[in-house]
C-alpha cells in the first residue's frame, strides 16, 4: 500500500480501514503521525477472504482517513481506494498443472501419503515382518477421506494458515511432519512393542546376567520355555531356547544353571538356603515374577553364579554366545519343554 500526499499541505493522523464484509482484516498498517506535503509512505495490509466471499473478481475498498488544516481549521477527510482481488478455490493454481485437475487431488493427498507410509513403516517394523511400505489401491478411498478431513480440520482450526505447496520448505515440512506423525501414531498404538525394542531387545553379545534378565523379566515373559530345533533358509540346523526378539523373528538362547559359589572366601557373598528356597524348588525356578526378580537380584549381588548349561548349537556345533538373533527364516521342526535356568 503506497500513500502519496500530492499537495503542499501536511497531512496528519493517517489511518486505513477495510470496508468489505466478505473480507476480514488480519493486519492493517500504522502510518507516521505526520505526512508532509509531496511525501509518500508505504506499508502492508493483510486481509483474508471470509467463507462468504464468492470465488470471483472482488473489489475491496480501503478507506484512508486523515486530518489537514484548511484556512486555519483542522478538517477530517476520507478517501476511498479500491483494490481488485481474485478469490479462488484452494489448489486452483495447482489444479492447472495436470490435465483434468488431477494435481489438486495429489496435493490434497500430499499430507496423507507420508502419514500412511510412516505408520506402515513403524507398524511393520514392530511386527517383526518388515516389508517396504506400499500405498495400495485399497488405501485410496480412506486416504481421500482422511485427506478431506485433515484439510477441513486445518481450514477450521487454522483459518489464517495459508499452505503454499509451491514453497519447497513448506512442502518438505508438510511431508516430514506428516511422516513423523504417522510414525508417532503407530508407535503410540504399539507402545508395548516400542518398549520391548528399546529396553528388552536381545543382543548377540549379551552377557549371562543381561541375557537372563531380559529373558526372565521382560513384559509378558513366558512362564515356561521350549527348546526348538529347526533349519534356517540356508539349510543349517539350529537348536536353542526359543525366544521372541522384539520387532524381529525368533531368537535362540542358551539354558543356564546357577549355583552358589564354593565356600572358601568367608567374605565372598553367597546365597543362603532361605534365599535359594525363595527362588527355586527342587532346582526349578518357582512360578511368578517375584522369584525371577529375586534371582536376578541374587545374580547381580554375585550371591549366585550363572553358568551356561546347554548352549545354542549350529549344525551340531555349540556357539559361544548366550543368544543368537540373526536367524534367517528359522523353520522350526521340533519343540521340547525346557528350563531356562535351574539351580544346581
Amino acid at each position: 500500500m503506497i500513500v502519496t500526499n500530492k499537495s503542499a499541505v501536511d497531512v496528519r493522523n493517517l489511518t486505513v480501514a477495510l470496508f468489505n464484509s466478505d473480507f476480514a482484516t488480519l493486519r492493517l498498517p500504522s502510518f507516521p503521525t505526520l505526512l508532509p506535503g509531496f511525501n509518500s509512505v508505504n506499508a502492508t495490509a493483510s486481509i483474508e477472504a471470509n467463507p462468504s466471499a464468492q470465488f470471483k473478481q472482488q473489489q475491496v475498498l480501503f478507506a484512508l482517513t486523515y486530518n489537514w488544516i484548511s484556512q486555519g481549521q483542522w478538517v477530517t477527510a476520507i478517501q476511498g481506494s479500491a483494490v481488485s482481488i481474485q478469490v479462488v478455490r484452494p489448489f486452483d493454481e495447482e489444479a492447472k498443472g495436470l490435465l483434468g485437475g488431477g494435481a489438486a487431488l495429489l496435493y490434497l493427498l500430499l499430507p496423507v501419503i507420508p502419514l500412511v507410509l510412516g505408520y506402515q513403516l513403524m507398524d511393520r517394523s514392530l511386527s517383526g515382518k518388515f516389508q517396504f511400505p506400499t500405498f495400495g489401491a485399497d488405501y485410496v478411498v480412506p486416504a481421500f477421506l482422511v485427506a478431506v478431513l485433515i484439510n477441513l480440520i486445518l481450514l477450521l482450526a487454522f483459518k489464517q494458515l495459508s499452505v503454499d505447496y509451491a514453497e519447497p520448505s513448506t512442502m518438505v515440512a508438510i511431508i516430514l511432519g506428516s511422516f513423523l506423525a504417522g510414525l508417532g501414531f503407530a508407535a503410540a498404538r504399539r507402545y508395548e512393542d516400542v518398549r520391548l525394542v528399546i529396553s528388552w531387545r536381545y543382543d548377540d553379545h549379551d552377557e549371562s546376567l543381561t541375557y537372563l534378565k531380559k529373558a526372565l523379566l521382560r513384559p509378558d515373559a513366558p512362564s515356561a520355555y521350549e527348546t526348538a530345533t529347526g533349519t534356517d533358509s540356508e539349510g543349517a540346523t539350529w537348536s536353542g531356547v526359543l525366544l521372541a526378539q522384539p520387532a524381529a523373528g525368533p531368537a535362540l538362547g542358551a539354558t543356564f544353571q546357577v549355583s552358589t559359589p564354593p565356600p572358601g572366601n568367608a567374605n565372598a557373598p553367597r546365597a543362603s538356603h532361605a534365599e535359594v528356597d525363595q527362588v527355586f524348588t527342587d532346582g526349578s525356578i518357582r512360578p511368578g515374577r517375584a522369584p525371577r526378580r529375586e534371582l536376578v537380584k541374587l545374580l547381580e549381588e554375585h550371591k549366585l553364579v550363572p553358568n551356561r548349561a546347554v548352549g545354542i548349537t549350529h549344525d551340531g556345533i555349540a556357539k559361544d554366545t548366550n543368544v543368537v538373533t540373526s536367524l534367517k527364516e528359522l523353520h522350526i521342526t521340533g519343540r521340547t519343554a525346557t528350563q531356562l535356568v535351574r539351580y544346581t
Binding site: Q257, S259, P262, G283, V305, A309
Partner: protein, 358 residues
C-alpha cells in the same frame, strides 16, 4: 561351563572284577556246588546272629582270602524287584533266583595316594555266585576335589601302583590285586588253581558324584578340553577316543544335561542332579541310586557271562536252571534302571539271547 569351578566334596567309585567259572566239580567249599547245599548255606547265614557266619563255619576250613560270609542281598526295594517274595523266604530261592553271597577278603587295603589332599576310603568285598564271583573295591573320596582330580584318581587306579594290602611293603597295581584275590577265591570257593574260569576283559566301574559345590557338569556345554577331562573318568588312557563325545552320553532323563551317565565299555560316570542335594533324604536316595545301578549292572554282566559261557561249561549248560533263570531275567529285567536296560538292549546281549533261544 567352567568345569574348573565345579568342586566335588564326595564321590564314590565302585569297581568290580568279574569271573565266570565253567566247571565247579570238586569245589573245595561244598555249599557252592548244589542247589540244596547252596540254599542251606543261605538259610544258615540268615538265621545266624548278625546274619553272617565265618567262612570256616561254612566250608570247614579257614579261607585263604575269604573271611566272613553274608547274604549278597538285603531287604530293600532293589532285591524285591529281583525276587518278589517275603524276605524271610529268600534263602529258599537262593539257587534258582541266583542270589549271591558276599564275603570279605583279607587283608584290608589302603589306597596309595598321589599328593592329593582329599581322603580315599576303600572297602573290599567278594560277591559269590555258584558260577563265579566278582571282586569289588568301593572307594569313597571325601574332601574338595575337582573332576580333573577325579580323572587322575581313575588314571592312578588303572595305571598306577595304588592298592596296598595292610602289612604289605609294596603297593600293587589294581590288576595285580584282583589277581591275588582271584587266586584266593579259586582256592576258597572253587577248584583252586585248576579252576576253569573266564574273566571279563574290563572291570565294571561305576562312579557317582555324591556331593559338590559350584556349577554342575553339564553334558551339553563342554569345551573339547573339558570333554577330554570327562572322558578320562571312564577311559583312563591318553589315546584319543574315536567316538564323538556325545556317543558316550546316556541321558537318564531325556535331554537333561544334568542327569546323565558317561559310558565307555564297562565304565560309567553318573551325574544325577535331581538327587545332588545336601539334604539327608536326597543323599540317601543318591547313594541308593548308585548302589542299585552298580549292583544291577554287575548282576546283568554276571548273568550275561553265565549264558555266554554255558555252551563250554560242563557245570552250567544251556539247559541248566541257572542259565534259564539268567536268560529269563536278562530278557525282561526286573529292575528297570536306565543303564541296565541299555545294557540288555545292546546288540551283543540281544544276539546272545537269540542264540540261546535258537
Amino acid at each position: 561351563m567352567a568345569l574348573a569351578d565345579t568342586v566335588l566334596t564326595e564321590t564314590i567309585i565302585d569297581i568290580s572284577d568279574l569271573h565266570t567259572v565253567l566247571d565247579t566239580a570238586g569245589a573245595s567249599c561244598g555249599p557252592f556246588v548244589s542247589d540244596q547245599s547252596y540254599c542251606d548255606l543261605h538259610q544258615r547265614i540268615s538265621a545266624a546272629p548278625g546274619r553272617h557266619i565265618g567262612y570256616v563255619d561254612a566250608c570247614g576250613v579257614e579261607g585263604t582270602v575269604l573271611d566272613q560270609l553274608r547274604p549278597g542281598y538285603a531287604d530293600e526295594k532293589f532285591w524285591h524287584y529281583i525276587l518278589n517274595d517275603s524276605f524271610a523266604r529268600y534263602p529258599t530261592h537262593a539257587w534258582r533266583q541266583i542270589l549271591p553271597l558276599v564275603a570279605f577278603p583279607r587283608p584290608r587295603i589302603e589306597v596309595v595316594k598321589r599328593n592329593w589332599t582329599f581322603e580315599i576310603k576303600p572297602k573290599t568285598s567278594v560277591l559269590l555266585y555258584p558260577f563265579g564271583w566278582s571282586t569289588r573295591i568301593s572307594l569313597r573320596i571325601v574332601g574338595r576335589h575337582s573332576l580333573a582330580d577325579l580323572a587322575d584318581v581313575v588314571d592312578h587306579l588303572f595305571n598306577g601302583q595304588c592298592i596296598k594290602p595292610l602289612g604289605a611293603t609294596t603297593p600293587l597295581r589294581l590288576v595285580e590285586y584282583f589277581g591275588r584275590v582271584a587266586d584266593g577265591v579259586r582256592t576258597d570257593a572253587f577248584v583252586g588253581a585248576h579252576t576253569n574260569d573266564v574273566a571279563e576283559q574290563m572291570p565294571l566301574m561305576v562312579i557317582t558324584v555324591l556331593a559338590k559345590y559350584g556349577p554342575s557338569a553339564s553334558a551339553m556345554n563342554l569345551t573339547s578340553d573339558e570333554q577330554r577331562t570327562m572322558l578320562r573318568l571312564v577311559r583312563p588312557t591318553n589315546r584319543v577316543s574315536s567316538k564323538p563325545f556325545a556317543d558316550h552320553i546316556r541321558y537318564l532323563l531325556p535331554n537333561d544335561p544334568f542327569q546323565y551317565a558317561l559310558v565307555h565299555e564297562g565304565s560309567y560316570f553318573m551325574w544325577v542332579q535331581s538327587l545332588l542335594n545336601p539334604e539327608k533324604r536326597y543323599r540317601q536316595l543318591l547313594r541308593c541310586h548308585h548302589n542299585n545301578t552298580f549292583e544291577s549292572l554287575e548282576r546283568a554282566k554276571h548273568l550275561k557271562a553265565l549264558i555266554a559261557n554255558s555252551e563250554d561249561s560242563p557245570s552250567f549248560g544251556t539247559e541248566d536252571v541257572l542259565v534259564q533263570s539268567a536268560v529269563t531275567e536278562l530278557r525282561k529285567p526286573k529292575y528297570k534302571g536306565k543303564l541296565v536296560l541299555d545294557f540288555v538292549q545292546t546288540q551283543e546281549v540281544k544276539d546272545l539271547l537269540t542264540e540261546v533261544a535258537g
